[in-house]
């Protein structure tokens, strides 16, 4: 936000803050390490507010659970903002000095009374008010979120709505206060930092707007950098659909099972002229590929760095030789370049890192020697004397503010793309479970007593209404597809709300149900809100029973 994409706070601050809004995140299961930091904060007295349609295992730790209706996050944020404004809890000096657009924003949230908030979100008005007051009155408060915010068709608006709350109360740029997207993998942050996003060069330098940066990269690479943004994942699939994109090189991703509306995804991948997959395991996508390049596990078979959710760059060291013909990712890339006529040689990980440091100012001070000695450094770290930033945006508290002011954003409360109706009356939200990992490409390869397989989790009320029972295999359908899954009763769900994960796509291909309605700005699909129906199987089908264990292909 405000430029660089990273959480603003350090882990230590999570332990020393006063109020935590955990918004759209079941961190207890999906970010267990970060949740330990949060729990330390709770033990130190922090009040935890969990905002999630489901009363998750994280929400059970919370002082207050706000079980909003799926997709009503902006409405909740706006209602909290209006309450903060009307209660006189706005941090006026901060808003006046460091932000812009308050007037317009305040006017935009004016219709969101607490009663209107309750109507739009389902959360009782007094609970919205209580949460708003707790957040605004705290000396330190932070918002942590994950995919419950971003896997929506209005993902960017959701994030902006949270930023608005932090700006309103001055809960950013200070120790213990901040805005923190929790990263789902050890190096999601590092991928973005290194420019693996279509609009940024390494170090979050804008490809189109930052001519000086582009020139620096061109000089170092000895080649021109096209001055326009690339496609993000969703746009790539649109380009495939239009026939503009015919060759795809996939590194460490399994879109054939992870994308929303996977039937369409697989069709598009199958129609490509050339599909190259580079991965450490034979994923479903790799099975479709023309060329598979076996690569190395980055945490034990390769040298390099990773960057975690607190922006800390840490060294990774090679411990094992990769098996068989597997090759280091960087070796593969350089060898590919050489065979395409560009001899980059075979630099070491440190040489590549030092080139990055010469081009990305926020990484300039992070030599391997310092990363070793200091057990990692948090960016920005502009020179070798810099200790690394504990938290971001301290500049907003300078008087006068350094650099541009932080803008409020007017955000519109829009319901999920797909409304419920008589044919598809149940809201399906998807997510992850503690013991599994994404499409299971890694986590389904070992046995675990925690693996319970995929299931459709339903409220006791829906189970009764549908006259189904625990363990019974049912047909789950959306407008896009249909899967069969056993029922699991979850009494933390309310009527009309269902949950599935996509951890076992070979058994239950959950993403046949999800919708690829996509936020135009972030490119993320609305995995969190689909409309489904649940039907009992015909007796004959039920006898076939184990059909749920059939490979997905068999069901088309």
């Amino acid at each position: 936000m405000f430029g660089a994409g990273g959480g603003t706070s350090s882990y230590r601050e999570m332990e020393e803050t006063d109020v935590i809004l955990l918004w759209g995140s079941n961190a207890r299961e999906t970010h267990p390490i970060i949740f330990h930091h949060l729990l330390k904060g709770v033990r130190n007295g922090a009040r935890l507010y969990a905002i999630d349609p489901r009363r998750t295992t994280s929400a059970r730790w919370a002082d207050r659970w706000l079980g909003l209706d799926v997709g009503s996050d902006v409405a909740l944020s706006n209602a909290m903002a209006r309450e903060i404004i009307h209660a006189g809890l706005v941090n006026r000096p901060f808003v006046d000095r460091a932000t812009e657009g308050f007037g317009e924003y305040a006017a935009s949230v004016e219709p969101f009374t607490l009663a209107e908030g309750e109507r739009l979100t389902g959360v009782p008005a007094e609970v919205i008010g209580e949460t708003a007051h707790a957040f605004a009155r705290a000396d330190r408060a932070m918002i942590c979120w994950t995919l419950g915010i971003t896997e929506h068709a209005n993902a960017v608006d959701n994030v902006l709505a949270l930023i608005n709350l932090a700006l309103l109360t001055g809960h950013v740029g200070r120790y213990g206060s901040g805005l923190n997207p929790l990263r789902g993998q050890n190096n999601v942050q590092g991928g973005g930092d290194m420019g693996a996003i279509p609009n940024k060069l390494p170090g979050f330098q804008d490809i189109e707007r930052d001519e000086e940066a582009r020139a620096r990269f061109e000089a170092a690479y000895g080649a021109p950098v096209p001055p326009h943004y690339g496609w993000h994942l969703t746009q790539m699939f649109h380009a495939m659909e239009r026939g503009e994109l015919k060759t795809v090189y996939v590194i460490g991703e399994n879109p054939a099972q992870s994308e929303a509306d996977v039937n369409r995804t697989r069709r598009l991948l199958a129609e490509l002229d050339l599909l190259v997959v580079q991965d450490i395991v034979m994923t479903r996508t790799a099975e479709m590929a023309d060329v598979v390049l076996p690569s190395t596990a980055s945490w034990c078979e390769a040298e390099g760095t990773v960057t975690n959710s607190e922006r800390r760059v840490q060294r990774v060291r090679k411990a094992l030789d990769p098996p068989g013909d597997a090759r280091d990712d960087m070796w593969i890339l350089c060898e590919l370049a050489r065979r395409l006529g560009h001899d980059w040689g075979h630099p070491t990980a440190e040489e590549a890192w030092d080139e990055l440091r010469s081009l990305s100012p926020m990484h300039a001070g992070m030599g391997y020697d310092r990363l070793d000695a200091l057990r990692g450094l948090r960016w920005p770290c502009p020179d070798e004397d810099h200790p690394g930033a504990v938290f971001l945006h301290e500049r907003l508290w300078a008087d006068p503010v350094e650099g541009p002011r932080a803008p409020f954003s007017v955000v519109e409360a829009k319901p999920p793309f797909e409304a419920l109706d008589a044919d598809y009356p149940i809201r399906l939200t998807t997510g992850r479970r503690l013991e599994s990992y994404n499409t299971g490409a890694q986590s389904n390869r070992y046995r675990s007593p925690l693996h319970r397989g995929e299931a459709l989790e339903l409220s006791p009320e829906d189970v009764e209404r549908l006259e189904v029972s625990e363990g019974e295999v049912v047909r789950v359908s959306s407008r896009r597809g249909s899967v069969e899954a056993p029922v699991r009763v979850d009494d933390s769900l309310r009527a009309g709300l269902a949950f599935m994960s996509f951890h076992f796509p070979d058994d239950v291909d959950t993403n046949q149900l999800t919708i690829d309605a996509t936020d135009p700005k972030s490119g993320t699909a609305e995995f969190k809100a689909a409309a489904i129906r649940v039907d009992r199987l015909e007796p004959a089908e039920r006898e076939a029973g184990e059909s749920v264990r059939e490979p997905a292909e068999a069901r088309g």
Binding site: V42, R47, R64, W65, L68, V123, P124, V127
Partner: protein, 620 residues
């Protein structure tokens, strides 16, 4: 907290009702209420507020135990749902306490004391008759409605042998029965109505020189007006005149030391708590009198309950506490009723609660019932128990005056210590210090039991000798000879017939190599089989060790095994080897246990070996 409940275990309506009585109705469906009513589908409270209810765990377990007779998995689930406690954790707590049952138990249970004092009065024979005529302990009656268990000391030693009858139900009944006969216990097991609670006469009742016991057996313990007519609440009025600093000064000047066994200066403890900046401060009245042979605090609580409440109020005023916990041992139902009544009376008359006596000082008392764990009398284990945890002692430092109950500065005093404060405040510190000796000021309650003509609680000024006390109690009856006196209870030590001139002061007992401890004076005549008595003491410690420190957990077992071999006349490697083993195990427990239980678990045994020569060479 994300809780994993015991599968397929739901509470019965009766269990829910029992919990509602102690916890109030559930706040939402997430806490056990009807499924998703009101806004429950969209919000839930919890977190710090829910976890702060943890201290209600023991009262909730008691609620089920009293109503149903045991704690079923469904009932445990419901408690955990209501209080946000993992069931495994709550199970660990419930299984810590002997009076709580986690396996089905009939509603009617008779606990029969088999401890040291009752042994002097035929408890072994009584138990043998029960086994013969009813069946071994734990066996059900023919209709399945009753059973009996052996019990450690029930604190009724002056009326031995004793039993405690518990009848679970909507109107649960707990009542001490003493003295009892085998016929009486069999009648109870057959559904007979328990007799009235034993009366609490003190042998010296009415003696004008009494200070601590002056109202016991004289004033009506159920009447606050009678209490006031006998000088009650004059001390609190005087305390308000003195102010907190004045009370601290008088208590320090009195040189009053703790009567629980450790003899720590009360004024020093109070001042340390009063000076702590952390808030709130807590007061804990340690009424978990569990030392075998001790019953004096029970006599005070049953006979003069308002004095305990008044003394707590003064302590709280001096040390800046707004809430006091009175932790009462579970085997004292009569004391519990007396105290609960006294607390209610004091509240209704403005002696407790907001604005006590119009002085702008607020204080209230919560009574917590222990559940059969000797260790909970330890001053930090009592905190753990009140907080709803297993009663395992804490490491010290930090000491309770800094980090005590709920992590806050806490003054913890025994009942007798507190009641002394009434006299300190009513007179003056120096006047109190003028009684007794330099190192032991005031008077002391002593629990005489065993082979003595008039057993009971005696109050003597410090300085009297053991001989004086035995004379006061009429000596050994039946023309028998004195064999030994157990001073201070299981954690104390023995004296022989030649030690009767020991002065009953802290320093006198120490000089004689024993302790006053909690005031036990158990008199044993020459009919007592001392080795077997030692075996019982060893069994007591093996049973009561909390198991936290290995030296105590293992050492108490080794000690009992060695004694069993000696009693059987089959020493391992010879008598000297066994005695050396007992001494070494004892030393190890003293050195390496964190609390007084392990540190004293061998004192009585070793003192009997050294002083009384109970295992003379050549005997085996």
């Amino acid at each position: 907290m994300d809780l994993r409940f015991i599968a397929d275990a739901e509470p019965t309506a009766s269990e829910r009702a029992a919990l509602d009585d102690v916890l109030g109705p559930p706040g939402s469906s997430w806490e056990g209420g009807a499924r998703l009513t009101g806004a429950d589908g969209n919000t839930a409270a919890g977190g710090h507020t829910a976890r702060a209810q943890r201290h209600l765990l023991l009262p909730a377990l008691w609620a089920l135990q009293e109503r149903i007779g045991w704690i079923s998995p469904g009932g445990l689930n419901e408690i955990c749902r209501r209080l946000t406690i993992p069931p495994a954790d709550a199970y660990g707590v419930a299984s810590f306490y002997a009076l709580l049952a986690l396996e089905p138990r009939p509603p009617r249970v008779v606990h029969v004391c088999e401890d040291v004092a009752c042994r002097c009065h035929g408890s072994q024979e009584l138990i043998a008759q029960l086994e013969e005529r009813f069946g071994p302990e734990g066996e059900l009656s023919d209709d399945g409605s009753a059973t009996w268990y052996r019990s450690p000391c029930l604190g009724q030693c002056d009326r031995a042998p004793a039993a405690l009858v518990s009848v679970a139900g909507n109107e649960p009944l707990d009542r001490a029965q003493a003295p009892v006969t085998a016929a009486a216990v069999l009648d109870l097991l057959a559904g007979g109505e328990p007799g009235p609670s034993p009366a609490a006469p003190v042998p010296q009742a009415g003696d004008p020189s009494l200070r601590l016991l002056r109202r016991v057996g004289v004033a009506d313990p159920a009447s606050i007006d009678d209490y006031r007519a006998h000088g009650g609440y004059a001390a609190l009025r005087r305390a308000f005149e003195l102010g907190p600093e004045g009370v601290l000064r008088e208590v320090k000047d009195s040189k009053l030391v703790g009567r629980g066994g450790a003899a720590f200066p009360t004024g020093v403890k109070w001042e340390a708590v009063a000076r702590q900046p952390a808030r709130p401060h807590y007061l804990v009245c340690n009424a978990d009198e569990s030392e075998p042979g001790t019953f004096k605090d029970r006599e005070l609580m049953e006979g003069d309950p308002f004095a305990v409440i008044e003394a707590m109020t003064i302590a709280a005023y001096a040390t800046g506490c707004e809430l006091g916990y009175l932790y009462l041992r579970g085997e004292y139902p009569e004391a519990q009723h007396a105290l609960e009544h006294a607390r209610a009376e004091a509240r209704s008359r403005g002696f407790l609660g907001e604005n006590v006596m119009g002085e702008g000082f607020s204080f209230d008392v919560e009574i917590r019932r222990g559940a059969g764990a000797y260790i909970c009398g330890e001053e930090t284990a009592i905190f753990e128990s009140i907080e709803g945890k297993r009663g395992e002692p804490r490491n010290k430092p930090p000491f309770p005056v800094e980090v005590g109950l709920f992590g806050k500065p806490t003054v913890v005093n025994n009942v007798e210590t507190l009641v002394n404060v009434l006299d300190v405040v009513l007179g003056s510190g120096p006047a109190f210090a003028a009684v007794g000796t330099e190192g032991s000021t005031g008077s002391k309650l002593l629990c005489l039991s065993g082979h003595v003509a008039r057993p009971g609680t005696y109050e003597v000024r410090f300085g009297a000798t053991l001989r004086d006390l035995l004379d006061l109690a009429g000596g050994v009856p039946g023309g028998r000879h004195l064999q030994a006196v157990l001073m201070g209870g299981a954690a104390g030590g023995f004296l022989g017939p030649d030690d009767l001139d020991v002065a009953l002061t802290f320093e006198g007992a120490r000089a004689a190599g024993t302790t006053l401890g909690s005031g036990v004076v158990l008199v044993l005549d020459d009919t007592v089989d001392l080795p077997r008595l030692l075996q019982r003491i060893a069994a007591f410690f093996r049973d009561e060790s909390c198991g936290q420190c290995v030296p105590c957990r293992v050492g108490t077992v080794r000690q009992e095994e060695a004694l069993a071999r000696l009693v059987a006349g089959e020493p391992l490697g010879g008598l000297e080897t066994e005695l050396a083993l007992i001494a070494e195990v004892g030393q190890c427990m003293r050195d390496a246990s964190i609390c007084g239980l392990g540190q004293t678990a061998s004192s009585a045994v070793e003192s009997a070996i050294l002083r009384l020569d109970v295992f003379p060479a050549g005997r085996s």
